[in-house]
């Protein structure tokens, strides 16, 4: 059985939960005491991932860290359609480019959230500014993709790149980053949220939770 070392509030772990759900793949979770106990920095966990980070995935003898790496593995192994990680040189290049963006530039939005929610001692103003710059890049790209009739991050169909980019963009409000200025991002988030098998996580306002919360008596 696939085993995910997990923290409920981690957007990086959610990348993996979301993708497993989209694939309809069974798995078990091991909740790791990320907060407040910092179990991910203690010897037991460091044996699993010397970087002291979640998520970690175990499948048989294979142990993988890094959400992007895990998504590539899961798509390669468990997606018979091949569409989530297309077998084409240019397509793979584009997917890898955006996977790297998800694990790199977009993580500034994750850090802003850690500051705002869990009190991490970060320079939040600078993080939000960097996250906004990354959002502008993504928003411009998605707007161009729409014009090309290619509305997903790396091509005409959703790929693991969409799944890797989705969480920290969708959770940006938790870190004090509003998305009013990124209309193409908003439309893309809405497309992800109606994929069959989509699941949310705490902090993501789905269209249904958002409206309902404003008018519970309806």
């Amino acid at each position: 059985m696939i085993r995910l070392y997990d923290f409920v509030l981690s957007g990086s772990c959610y990348k993996v939960r979301l993708f497993l759900s989209l694939l309809g793949q069974d798995y078990e979770t091991v909740p790791v005491g990320f907060y407040p106990a910092k179990e991910h920095k203690k010897p037991d966990f460091l044996q699993l991932n010397p970087l002291g980070q979640l998520p970690v995935l175990r499948d048989g003898d294979l142990v993988l860290r890094d959400a992007q790496a895990i998504l590539v593995y899961l798509a390669s192994k468990y997606d018979p359609s091949g569409s989530w990680y297309p077998d084409d040189a240019a397509a793979r290049g584009r997917v890898a480019m955006w996977l790297s963006f998800a694990g790199g530039e977009l993580m500034t939005a994750s850090a802003a959230r850690l500051h705002d929610v869990l009190n991490y001692p970060f320079d939040v103003a600078s993080l939000r500014e960097q996250a906004r710059q990354a959002f502008v890049v993504l928003d411009d790209h998605l707007a161009e993709q729409e014009l090309r009739d290619c509305p997903w991050v790396a091509g005409p169909e959703p790929t693991v790149a969409d799944i890797a980019c989705f969480p920290y963009v969708a959770l940006s409000n938790d870190g004090g980053i509003a998305r009013d200025e990124y209309p193409a991002i908003e439309r893309w988030l809405a497309r992800v949220m109606v994929l069959p098998g989509f699941i949310d996580m705490p902090g993501i306002l789905t269209p249904w939770s958002g409206e309902a919360a404003e008018e519970p008596a309806a």
Binding site: V8, P36, D116, G203, I204, W208, S209, A212, P216, A217
Partner: protein, 286 residues
């Protein structure tokens, strides 16, 4: 200097850290009601809390207590001792201390949301509520004159997964105790012990009028869940509330009786706001 605060805010007991996380190698530099606070534990285990100037100089030592897994202080002179929770003495319960979670809103908004059953199906979908079972049945909200506490009683709700240990949907009995304006505890039917109640409590530590560190605990009969499973269940619920709370306007809790209320099942909100107004609470209200 910070502005003068009213007794109704000053004279409450506030958590500034969990006992476990206030360690001799880990002091807590924080704020309370807009004022700088330092909490420390000496190598021998003694806790001291002081109010400081913005520049970090000691102004005065503050009262401090350790109880229920938390470190408590006050900036005023509470007329009542810290409220008693006899459930902490009961055998077989497990305590889960959820860690500080920060929310950009007022303590009143946080307590009011905690008392509100009607948001369950929409905010905690398929956990604490589910459509179409959205109806809030009549309940009572009343100030208990002898204790000076607000109690909300006779609540019930249909819940798909009432607690971490729940094995399926159930009709769950609830009651709420608000022992002081900025602290609240709920009691709900325990899936782990028939006829008993599990406790969940929130202690907002108001850093500023519209910024709180929220301390949250569970005290439950549960022999099946792992500690981490229970903890993350509660942290997940909390983050679902957080985004709703941060979107409420105004962030201060409006006490004007004409102000709009968030939902239809308002009895508890009406009583809560009225109580704060009668007590003369000004910090964090509009």
């Amino acid at each position: 200097m910070s502005k003068d605060l009213e007794p109704a805010a000053l004279d409450q007991w506030y958590v500034i850290e969990s006992s476990e996380d206030l360690r001799s190698d880990q002091p807590r530099r924080t704020r309370l009601l807009g004022r700088p606070i330092l909490g420390e534990r000496s190598a021998s285990g003694t806790v001291t809390i002081e109010e400081r100037t913005e520049e970090g100089e000691t102004l005065r030592k503050l009262p401090c207590l350790e109880r229920y897994g938390y470190v408590w202080t006050t900036l005023g002179a509470p007329v009542k001792p810290l409220f008693d929770m006899p459930e902490f003495e009961e055998d077989g319960r497990r305590l889960v201390v959820c860690g500080v979670l920060t929310v950009r809103t007022s303590p009143g908004r946080i307590v009011e949301n905690f008392l509100d059953l009607s948001h369950f199906p929409f905010v905690h979908t398929d956990i604490l509520g589910a459509e179409p079972m959205t109806e809030v049945t009549p309940y009572k909200a009343k100030l208990d004159e002898s204790s000076g506490e607000l109690w909300v009683t006779e609540c019930g709700f249909y819940q798909p997964q009432a607690m971490a240990a729940s094995s399926g949907a159930a009709q769950v009995d609830y009651l709420y105790r608000v022992p002081q304006p900025y602290a609240a505890v709920l009691y709900k039917s325990s899936p782990g012990k028939a006829g008993a109640f599990d406790l969940i409590g929130i202690f907002p530590q108001p850093l500023e009028e519209t910024l709180c560190d929220v301390h949250c605990f569970m005290l439950v009969y549960d022999d099946v869940s792992s500690y981490e499973g229970m903890l993350q269940w509660q942290q997940g619920i909390f983050l679902q509330d957080r985004i709703i709370l941060e979107n409420q306007r105004p962030a201060r809790l409006p006490l004007d009786p004409k102000a709009e209320l968030p939902s239809r099942a308002d009895t508890s909100a009406i009583q809560y706001r009225r109580w704060l107004k009668n007590l003369g609470v000004e910090f964090g209200v509009a």
